[in-house]
């Protein structure tokens, strides 16, 4: 790079320079990314991936808008209310507070940007053109905050009507005051009201200031700003929105009473991030229409990052995107990972290479083994036959998904109200356990079924009703018959009432009692359960008979439809399962990578000569690695001279083998320089630092070794 890149900053941090050349390169062939020399389907895969990613984007946006709609609407309502009420009553004007909305957003800070964007748009569309949003980073002092507010307000309004170009010049920084803003506001609103005189009743347009990250603001800056604004509140109808990540008490912690008494604070709660994630799951992962699927391991990695690290739905979607890219990049057969019709078309025209790849898929091989011998031979020899079989297998894979998800939802709705959630609180947990192994072989499933077996009649009816609601919208024929069967059970349960109402009431009482104990003790529960079991052998009421039929039915559904996906032939086409790669890429461990690079240079450099057996120090390794390995053997303080000696010894060990040159082991200035450079690199990487205790020593900064 011959251009000199400079920054005005002297502080820490890394700077990203977008080089112009890179951009040009991207334009050349965006769709050539996945193309390799011997592969013709790369372009198709890229296209499919692109299309899927667009679906993901639009649906996540949709979800976010849907979830935020309520809170944003009430926020707009709040602002409108204050806009109207501001100057109505003269008697009350004397003490006016600044209306303030405390918008609770949760700690998933990366997701906030999108919420704020839609809030801004909404406000600008429906309430006022004067919307400003500020970030704590840009507002280290109150003058910066005022400047930001002025810039955004005045700059924007100027860009709206082009005639007044000369106004565009911002006032000198010296006059960056709210009173200047006041002047500007008067003229701006006059213009606005002239323009839309027809709906003349419009009151003064409020100026909305959004503090995106309230907690990060310096509290003195906030206090001063609020003081200043409250002086102008009569002429400039300010409205504040505090974006709060923690809790509303943050306001009281940051602002003293004298300042918070200038505000009229109302709290608005946005949806929790877990709820948000659940909707994303419903829409993108537990959905038969979205062809790309994640294996249970991958889901666990992604959900783990979400729950353990950041709570960020945005990052979760990024993880999904990464999985998609990785899948379409590394799995050539992912050309088949698309809508059913396209996939079938594609299967017809599979290349020979891809047919061979299909033959090597574990799930396909398993399938072949189950076939008759002559069919096996045919599958191994005839490409055409493989293509045909592939089509039927793809069809059945799609059907599997179409049946799987409704049944999964049914099972979840049946078990999610059970005490202690034996099959998990969230549907994603149930999905993961279904995919890991046969659900019906797990203990959790057994205990869930036992709990279902003691449901009272009204509970059972309600649960079945839930199932029938889910199944009603299912598309396949099989699901429609299941729906009919469920409806049938409901009917029979309900007619049962008229036949033997006293019987069922007894039963209800029993399970009512159990209901009580549920909370107290699981052991107790099991005991009653066993008691009941023994009683049942004696005599079963019609309700009990019917109930066990229902449970049998549910069990049969689970066994038929909730089989693990990886057992389905061709599942590798749709399922991304490299959880290891995902973890490595998304949950990086910089320290471990540095250590790996330094102690095993071969790992990254892939140079044969660097392969060493553990414990030895090769002189072929980069100087930094040698110095690093030597320093591992030292204590907290490292004598530089000893270190140098050792370094020179390692280097000259190689020379010894080459030739018996006379000056071996001697300190030539080249080695000395190499050593110094390596040590300063170590210092740069944070492994050592110079110490004032002893001038010829450096201190080790990492643990271990001694």
């Amino acid at each position: 790079m011959n251009e000199t890149l400079t920054t005005s900053s002297v502080s820490k941090g890394c700077f990203v320079f977008k080089s112009a050349s890179k951009k040009r390169k991207r334009h050349v062939g965006l769709d050539e990314y996945l193309v390799e020399a011997d592969d013709d389907s790369g372009r198709d895969r890229f296209r499919i991936c692109q299309k899927l990613w667009e679906t993901v984007q639009t649906s996540t946006e949709e979800i976010q808008n849907q979830l935020n709609k309520k809170v944003l609407d009430s926020l707009v309502e709040f602002i409108k209310k204050h806009e109207l009420g501001s100057s109505s009553d003269v008697w009350r004007q004397r003490t006016s507070e600044i209306p303030t909305a405390a918008l609770m957003l949760g700690v998933n800070v990366p997701d906030h940007a999108m919420t704020f964007r839609s809030l801004c748009n909404l406000l600008q569309d429906s309430v006022t053109p004067f919307v400003v949003s500020v970030h704590a980073k840009e507002c280290a002092a109150v003058k910066h905050l005022i400047q930001k507010v002025l810039e955004q307000l005045m700059g924007k309004a100027v860009s709206v009507d082009e005639e007044q170009e000369e106004d565009a010049a911002l006032p000198q920084k010296a006059q960056c005051t709210i009173s200047a803003l006041c002047q500007w506001y008067k003229t701006a609103t006059k213009k606005c009201s002239q323009k839309k005189n027809d709906n003349g009743l419009r009151q003064s347009l409020p100026v909305v200031v959004i503090f995106k990250d309230f907690e990060a603001f310096n509290s003195q800056v906030l206090q001063d700003f609020i003081h200043i604004c409250s002086r102008y509140i009569q002429e400039l109808p300010f409205i504040f929105v505090f974006g709060i990540a923690t809790s509303p008490s943050a306001i009281q912690h940051r602002l003293p009473h004298s300042v918070s008494s200038l505000l009229c604070i109302e709290v608005f709660q946005s949806v929790s991030c877990t709820q948000h994630l659940a909707s994303v799951f419903d829409k993108l992962i537990l959905n038969a229409h979205f062809p790309f699927k994640l294996s249970s391991r991958v889901i666990q990695v992604l959900v783990g990052i979400f729950l353990y690290h950041d709570f960020s739905v945005q990052n979760f979607v990024k993880g999904l995107q990464f999985s998609m890219l990785e899948h379409f990049n590394s799995q050539p057969l992912s050309v088949l990972c698309c809508r059913k019709r396209e996939a079938l078309l594609c299967a017809k025209t599979l290349s020979q290479q891809n047919v061979e790849r299909i033959r090597h898929l574990p799930s396909f091989m398993r399938y072949v083994e189950t076939q008759e011998p002559e069919e096996q031979v045919k599958l191994l020899t005839s490409d055409q036959h493989v293509k045909e079989v592939c089509q039927t297998l793809l069809k059945s894979l799609h059907k599997y998904h179409k049946n799987y998800f409704p049944i999964l939802q049914c099972l979840h709705s049946l078990t999610s109200s059970l005490p202690k959630f034996p099959l998990g609180k969230h549907i994603r947990e149930l999905h993961v356990s279904c995919n890991e192994k046969n659900l019906w072989e797990t203990e959790e499933y057994d205990s869930a079924m036992q709990l279902l077996r003691i449901l009272a009649k009204n509970e059972l009816v309600a649960a079945l009703q839930g199932c029938s609601d889910i199944l009603q919208s299912a598309s396949t024929k099989r699901m429609q018959t299941v729906f009919q069967q469920v409806e049938d059970f409901i009917n029979r349960l309900e007619t049962l009432e008229s036949v033997s109402s006293e019987d069922s009431s007894v039963n209800g009482a029993i399970s009512g009692k159990i209901d009580y104990q549920r909370k107290t003790d699981l052991f107790q529960l099991q005991k009653t359960l066993l008691e009941k079991e023994s009683r049942r052998t004696k005599k079963m009421s019609p309700f009990e008979v019917l109930r066990s039929q229902v449970i049998e039915f549910i069990d049969s559904l689970v066994r038929e439809y909730l089989t693990p996906a990886h057992l389905q032939p061709l599942s590798e086409v749709c399922y991304f399962s490299s959880s290891g790669i995902l973890r490595q890429r998304l949950n990086v461990t910089p320290r471990t990578s540095i250590q790996a690079a330094l102690s095993h240079p071969y790992y990254y450099l892939q140079n044969e000569s660097l392969k060493t057996n553990a414990g030895t120090i090769s002189s072929a390794a980069p100087d930094l690695c040698i110095v690093y390995k030597l320093h591992l053997e030292c204590g907290r303080l490292i004598n530089l001279y000893d270190w140098l000696e050792a370094f020179v010894t390692v280097l000259s060990a190689a020379e010894d083998q080459d030739a018996d040159s006379g000056d071996h082991g001697q300190l030539d200035s080249l080695k000395h320089a190499r050593f110094i450079q390596a040590v300063s690199e170590m210092e740069f990487l944070g492994f050592v630092k110079s110490t004032k205790q002893k001038t010829d020593h450096v201190a080790r900064l990492t643990w271990g070794g001694c």
Binding site: A174, C273, Y308
Partner: protein, 444 residues
Amino acid sequence: MPVTLQCPGYPEDTLRTLAEKLPCRETQVTSLLSLMGQPDHYSYPSVFIYGHRATGKSHVVLTIMKDLELPHASVDCVECVSAGLLFYQVLSALFGPDSAALLPRCPSLSDFVRLYKQMSSNTPATQTRYIVLDRAERIRDMDFSLLPALLRLQELVNDNVTIILLSEIVWEKFRPNTGCFEPLLFHFPDYSKVELVQILSKDHHPSYTPELYASYINILLGVFFSVCRDLRELRHLAMLNFSKFCEPLEKGEAKESDIHKLWKNIEPHLHRAMQTVYLREVSSVQWEQQQMDEKEATALRGLSAHAHIELPYYSKFLLIAAYLASFNPARTDRRFFLKSHGKIKKTNFLKKHEKTSNHLLGPKPFPLDRLLAIFYSVVDSRVAPTASIFSQISSLVTLQLLSQVGHDDQLDSPKYKCAVSLDFILAISRTVSFDVVKYLYDFL
């Protein structure tokens, strides 16, 4: 019986309305007026007025300025983010914006003095000019020479000008240690209860008699005087609750003379207001809404009711570790976190002289290494030292749950403090079923 203010050179009736506008501040107004003297007389160079919040400092001074139509500049120093802005505002108020525009960018004090001189020689003063600087304590944060210069501005610019400084802080906290011209000090004492009643009764509602409003104010002060003497706040509360007070009258259940009945109606309501709307737990709008709905039972959730914070799993443990690091002495870490601490006996471990609770002393700073070491020993599973662990620490800092000690850009072994309360950490550790009390030195 308003005291008739006397001051030669000003019209009688203006002085009379002035006295009416400023009840309970007669002595201060009188002495201010006598200090100012006749309009064309030179006045004392600088006056310093101090008193608690809402004791009417700004109100009195500005009312005098406006009613007597004195040439003045009034500047709130909070707004003056730089001295230049202050100069600009003063000049533009005294000599018009055109003159202020002559100031160079980033004007210095001497620029200001020069321009002032030039302007005042163009338009010589016929009356004393006043410069009122509200919240003058902010001047101390500006250039250190600004305050001494302003105090003797009269001398510097050779003009009939008086500086009036208003502050809530006593003069001793202002005086530069190099010494300076001593301004004349004025104290505005707090209003007494009687005075508060008198002032507040003045803004009675147009559709009710002043007597009724006065008795309302009396009741209000009976409840609030012990917690709040801030005139502005009291006025706000009076306004918020007046409609509730009038409710029995509106409904025809009571007459204006039925003070006792009205009192019984409003008193519990005011007590509730003290706990909610006065503390800003509930906003004034919500409070009024609630009054109108008359559904008293559905109590509004206050701000502090939402104290719960959802955090990612490891963030919780990081926070717990930070709390332990902040409130345990570092030397006790071996005992708490080493599996085989064996030999350290409890007797010599608990030092006698360490009687003060660490919780009384507040959180202590700790280095990042210690935080991580404790974190790895309290978290129940093996956690790789991933980048997200580190970024969670900085997220906790931006959320103000941890605070970084020292410089922001100190890369080398940064230090932190835990900024959450014991209750908070107890709630957090309950959600991850971690018994934090067992690890706290103070509770041993």
